[in-house]
């Protein structure tokens, strides 16, 4: 047992820190810290800067264009990126679809789609959920009927994050009309500009546009856009979800937020006094720090098991619950910090402290947005069902 990073890893950390300090676009860091809404061009510029350095597809192996880092290096990189206040990548192509593509895609498919993801010229969306199929994803009904060399797709996908930025959408569709559950589902990539695809925006509780409904009306897709075997889509989908759930840790972001909170709290008490001296606030802060530390060491413990060869299996459910509840704990503390300042709408909200721009409205917005964390990627209740069944052997 050893909690220390190796000397090489520490050196690596310094290199990454140096990059974000000196070479990463400064205006993007400024925009992130001001809590402004990010547009597609911001993501693209951030991702292309990372791509230039060879640090964009951080979880990909070397042969597919990744940096070939160890799990620990990747952890360090993510942490430094978030502590520096840089923009997280849009995960759909890089973190979710990429691994499916290089693991299960054909040679031709890899050549066609990997480069666009690697240089951030192509954006992807994830078409899993449907109006009638959320937690019970296997009940999905969006269908792809084989007609010669094409599929004809009909149905709707919903809650599709950033479909309005996307060029492509990977979809779970039913290719066997006689099937009802996991069998008969295929994994198909659709050019989002194909005739018959319509992307309809959905505004969320924080007032922003993250989500969409995507309608498919007789959309024709060549069969070579299917990943892997027909009817085996569920298997690829699960592989992807394992990757998705382990990507939620965001330990660096939580540390950065805690630092912001402590800084602002120094002057947020009555008449500009320190809120850190308020025993109720101090105890909430301490509890949140415990939550972040717990997350940090749980993430490291699970990742280092992955390193020695064990695949992240049910641990991804543990991590998902822990990470998302920790995020909610931190943003709830932000709400406490904001006090009455949290009431104001975004446009008139003043910074809580002169030194940095954590405004009351940003705290409220963050708190509200973070409610989604325990819903997306499989709700907390569903993760608990997985742990009860798979880990504890409890069956209903």
């Amino acid at each position: 047992m050893d909690l220390n990073f190796s000397a090489e890893d520490e050196l690596f950390r310094l290199q990454v820190r140096d990059y974000f300090k000196n070479d990463y676009p400064k205006d993007i860091i400024a925009k992130v810290s001001a809590g402004k809404s990010m547009v597609k061009a911001d993501y693209q510029r951030s991702e292309q800067a990372l791509a230039k350095k060879g640090w964009l597809a951080v979880n990909w192996p070397k042969e597919h264009g990744g940096p070939g880092w160890s799990v620990v290096q990747r952890y360090i990189f993510d942490e430094e990126l978030e502590i520096a206040g840089a923009l997280n990548v849009i995960p759909m192509g890089l973190l979710y679809f990429g691994p499916v593509l290089y693991t299960f895609g054909s040679e031709a498919q890899r050549e066609r789609w990997l480069p666009g993801i690697l240089n951030s010229t192509t954006f992807w969306a994830q078409g899993y959920s449907e109006p009638g199929a959320g937690s019970d994803l296997a009940s999905l009904t969006c269908r792809a009927d084989r007609q010669g060399d094409e599929y004809c797709i009909n149905g709707s996908k919903i809650w599709t994050s950033y479909a309005h930025f996307a060029d492509w959408i990977f979809c779970l569709v039913r290719t066997d009309p006689a099937s009802t559950r996991h069998d008969g589902i295929s994994f198909i990539c659709v050019d989002i500009r194909s005739p018959g695809v319509e992307v309809i925006p959905i505004r969320s509780i924080d007032g922003e546009h993250h989500l969409n409904r995507v309608e498919f009306n007789n959309v024709r897709v060549p069969i070579e856009n299917r990943i892997g075997d027909e009817g085996k889509g569920w298997h690829y989908a699960q592989y992807l979800l394992g990757h998705e759930r382990t990507s939620y840790a965001h330990v660096g972001a939580r540390k950065a937020e805690l630092a912001l909170i402590k800084n602002a709290a120094r002057t947020a008490g009555v008449g500009g006094s320190s809120l850190l001296k308020d025993p109720l606030f101090a105890s909430k802060l301490a509890r949140t720090e415990i939550a972040v530390k717990t997350l940090e060491y749980t993430t490291l413990r699970i990742l280092s098991a992955t390193q020695v060869g064990a695949a992240p299996g049910n641990e991804s459910s543990i991590l998902k619950i822990l990470a998302t509840e920790c995020a909610q704990a931190v943003s709830t503390l932000m709400l406490e910090l904001a006090g009455a300042d949290g009431l104001t709408e975004k446009a008139v909200s003043l910074p809580l402290s002169e030194r940095q721009g954590l405004s009351g409205a940003m705290c409220t917005e963050k708190y509200l947005f973070d409610r989604a964390q325990t819903i997306y990627g499989g709700t907390t209740e569903i993760q608990k069902n997985v742990i009860a069944k798979q880990v504890l052997g409890l069956r209903s």
């Binding site: 959920s129 009638g132 199929a133 959320g134 937690s135 019970d136 009940s139 919903i158 809650w159 959905i202 505004r203 969320s204 509780i205 007032g207 989500l211 947020a268 008490g269 009555v270 008449g271 500009g272 809120l275 308020d278 109720l280 606030f281 709400l335 406490e336 006090g339 009455a340 300042d341 949290g342 009431l343 104001t344 709408e345 446009a347 008139v348 003043l350 409205a361 409220t364 509200l368 409610r371 989604a372 325990t374 819903i375 997306y376 709700t379 907390t380 209740e381 608990k384």
Partner: protein, 373 residues
């Protein structure tokens, strides 16, 4: 021991319930606010707790509670709280012999009750963190009377009001309990600037800046002893606000149950999963707990019981925590649907979050509970 509503209170509840249903959850516009004030005046609600001599109904904190629960149930963003707060302050100041002179206060009250004059109250400041004694807005004695300078924040209905009640320091240091006075001024007074905005749950608010605002002596309604008066008025408002919260919480609970009974996953209604059922039970229990403390606090206030303050502080803690819990759980139980902007769930949730913050959040009142018990 009796927790039953009187037949008049049941009538009030039912008529409020009908009215709110007809209104629907209120839109965010100045026109809507104006028409609400007129309706409330006609229905006799603006003067519900004010004495008959100024056109009021002479009702108690329990009557106010009954009305407000229904307003909250229908998510009506109404002007009543501002009227209640100002009314309590004006009534208390009337006891002060000087202010009663010329009947200024009682004719103002009559105009408020009839809906002819709108009023807002500015007590809190940006860095006061709910602490009423924190008054850095200053009123200095001058030849004509007083000169006021400073800024007031989070003024509910501030931009729409014809008249404003403002607290300012006439003596002592920033956080002193004594030396705080209460002033009445017209919104058109030179040197007074109002910066309107909406809270995240759609309440009209304003920041108010005073720059060498000169007021006549009579504008000072309470001199140096305003703090206990402000505290007592806010305690009345907390009952009203908590009743609104309870109404909103029950709407959240039952609309979430309704949604989950229609929503099917894994071939079942999701209310058939025990994890979901137990969550609803926790939410229901939270509503019941709030109702117990709400009734207790209202009755204690009517009786002017020695522990009325304590129970009211306990109530505000419970309301803040339970309201947030209900909101968070409702969103979770709706899944992604609960995360959408237009759904009633999100609006009720934001309303409950705002209610926690108004007039002191759960932590602030928890500290008062520690002090008072």
């Amino acid at each position: 021991m009796n927790f039953d509503l009187s037949s008049e209170q049941i009538m009030l509840r039912d008529s409020a319930n009908r009215y709110v249903k007809e209104c629907g959850a209120s839109p965010k516009s100045t026109d809507a606010e104006v028409s609400l004030i007129q309706d409330f005046a006609k229905l006799g609600w603006l003067g519900l707790s004010l004495p008959e001599k100024c056109g009021g109904v002479g009702g108690s904190a329990i009557d106010v509670m009954v009305l407000c629960e229904e307003l909250g149930r229908g998510l009506l963003l109404e002007p009543y709280l501002s009227v209640l707060l100002a009314g309590e302050l004006l009534l208390a100041s009337e006891v002060d012999a000087k202010a009663a002179q010329g009947g200024v206060v009682s004719s103002l009250l009559a105009n408020i009750v009839s809906g002819n004059t709108s009023i807002a109250t500015a007590l809190y400041e940006a860095d006061s963190r709910f602490e009423l004694a924190r008054q850095s807005c200053v009123a200095q004695v001058c030849e004509q009377g007083y000169t006021l300078n400073g800024t007031k924040s989070f003024v509910l209905n501030g931009a729409q009001a014809d008249q404003l009640l403002i607290s300012a320091r006439t003596q002592g240091q920033f956080n002193d309990a004594s030396g705080i006075s209460l002033f009445l001024l017209d919104r058109k007074t030179p040197g007074l600037a109002l910066d309107p905005y909406y809270s995240f749950d759609g309440l009209p608010m304003a920041t108010l800046s005073l720059s060498n605002v000169v007021l006549r002596k009579e504008a000072c309604l309470v001199s140096n002893t305003a703090l206990p008066i402000m505290e007592a008025a806010i305690e009345k408002v907390i009952i009203a606000l908590s009743a609104q919260a309870l109404g909103a919480m029950e709407t959240l609970l039952y609309s979430s149950i309704e949604y989950c009974q229609l929503r099917q996953q894994f071939g079942k209604k999701i209310t058939q999963f025990q994890a979901v059922q137990h969550r609803f039970v926790d939410m229901y229990m939270a509503c019941e707990e709030v109702r117990s403390l709400l009734y207790a606090a209202a009755i204690k206030q009517v009786e002017s019981a020695p522990d009325a303050k304590l129970i009211t502080a306990m109530l505000k803690v419970k309301v803040g925590e339970a309201g947030r819990f209900l909101g968070e759980q409702s969103v979770q139980l709706h899944g992604a649907m609960g995360f959408t902007e237009d759904l009633l769930v999100g609006r009720l949730y934001k309303r409950l979050l705002a209610i926690d913050t108004l007039f002191g959040n759960a932590d602030y009142h928890l500290k008062r509970v520690i002090k008072l018990s």
